[in-house]
Symmetry: C2
Subunit: 309 residues, 2 copies
Amino acid sequence: MPYPHVQISDVILRDGLQLVRSVLPTEDKKRIVDALYGAGLRHLDITSFVPPARFPQFADASEIVAHARRYTDLDLSAFAPNPKGAERAAAAGVNAISFVVSVSESHNRANVNRTTDEQIAAAREVRAFLNGRDGEPVRLVLALATVFGCSIEGEIAVDAVARLAVEARAAGADEICLSDTVGYADPVRVRQVISAVRAAVGTDIPLRLHLHDTTGTGMACAFAAMEEGITLFDASLGGLGGCPFAAGASGNISTEDLVYLMERSGISTGIDLEALLAVTALLHAGLPAEPLASHLFKSGLPKSYGAHR
Amino acid sequence: MPYPHVQISDVILRDGLQLVRSVLPTEDKKRIVDALYGAGLRHLDITSFVPPARFPQFADASEIVAHARRYTDLDLSAFAPNPKGAERAAAAGVNAISFVVSVSESHNRANVNRTTDEQIAAAREVRAFLNGRDGEPVRLVLALATVFGCSIEGEIAVDAVARLAVEARAAGADEICLSDTVGYADPVRVRQVISAVRAAVGTDIPLRLHLHDTTGTGMACAFAAMEEGITLFDASLGGLGGCPFAAGASGNISTEDLVYLMERSGISTGIDLEALLAVTALLHAGLPAEPLASHLFKSGLPKSYGAHR
């Protein structure tokens, strides 16, 4: 195996909750943070700094970040849609801001009512804010949405992804996240896109992959990406999450299943799967009405897990 | 891509139904055969020639085979546990008998109350019967169960799989099927096993892969196997199926999802996915209480499907 370890960032408390109607109580979120840390997670996309009046799920954003900050080796990113959100996030103590630009012009309009160019300009404003503030540096992660297809436009060209990645880098991204927002990816296209983006932006900027399991290809794509050299993956506890413009879509790839796939294949994640499944049980207790998509949570650990290699 | 096409055998009417308690009406089964053929399937594992009194789901085995025989280019296999079942299957008109031997001694005992050696001896009896009968030749597919792990014994050694494959060939198998009976496989182990079995039995006997999606690794394993040179895959409409000794197990990998994964990756299956999803709807109408595990059936076809490559 060329890449003996990968680093999984759990997105349950951000992307995972964004379509969940019932607000998960703040105390439950804190318990999930503690338990994810206990299971070995060292990277969380932890909340969204969006207007609390419109998004009650994320009204406790600053409190959750403040709670998680007790773990000094826990890297925290949070979504922010504009400099104001980035300011709140930085003040709360995140290590990174994630900001989204869609490759699909139509998706970008549907998502934030702006052109892709306008959204890149907004990313520059966030960058300028981050550069101008005092205190610990905060990274800027530019997440490219609809990289593998769009539920509005359909096909997305590999070249268009590579071009936007170059613009994202020029706008000051410290990291680029390739997001399969609607879950259309396949392993061959994943390899093509990674290879095209690397050729376009160079190898000295980290690339992350954010997959959804809408069409069941999530694990095959993750494995292919790992073989292509990707070491940074997003995944969501219980497979929760989704995009409001992806009809019928199931959620993000499940953290539990991704850990299993990698560990079982001999790729270290640093995550204790048994402890992680206990966190899923906590999540399930907090959101009993949400169907969870994790295979491992349903099947339990295989008898031979851990004795395999 | 080294292998531009794969051949998928749908197992819904055999493995897919074996744990389903409500008997699917014979007319529904016939409609599913017709519709699967119409969608482009040319290989079906179509029924089980097991004692009808104990297995009412398969009491119509001969009638289903007779119905499917109208399609002269449809290759039919059926499960038979012994020479008597093989005799009924051959008389009904199948092209191949599938017979199961577990690598795990404990699983073989739990499944058929015999040692693995006794089961290989039984396979020889089936082979002798097939050799002795008149009429069109009927192939013998020896399916090795628990190849990637066992819910009773846990770990299964790659060497043990290769040794049993050699015995299966010596017993007269025309084809060897590697079955992940309880869904523990990972892509790396899949490649190791395929490579070890090929080295042991040679390249002039077809190898088939039968995967379950218990732990969510099914598609990643299928893709890895395709890259390793496997072109014959089992899959089940709606992802139905399972093993009575695999607690909490979800079913076989879904035919719909496998077709999508392959076609979307540029690997031809000869199957019309839109027509196939209509067959899933037929199945769902016939078994409304059974939860189906096909992602594609839930999400529908992506907007850009077909325009992708």
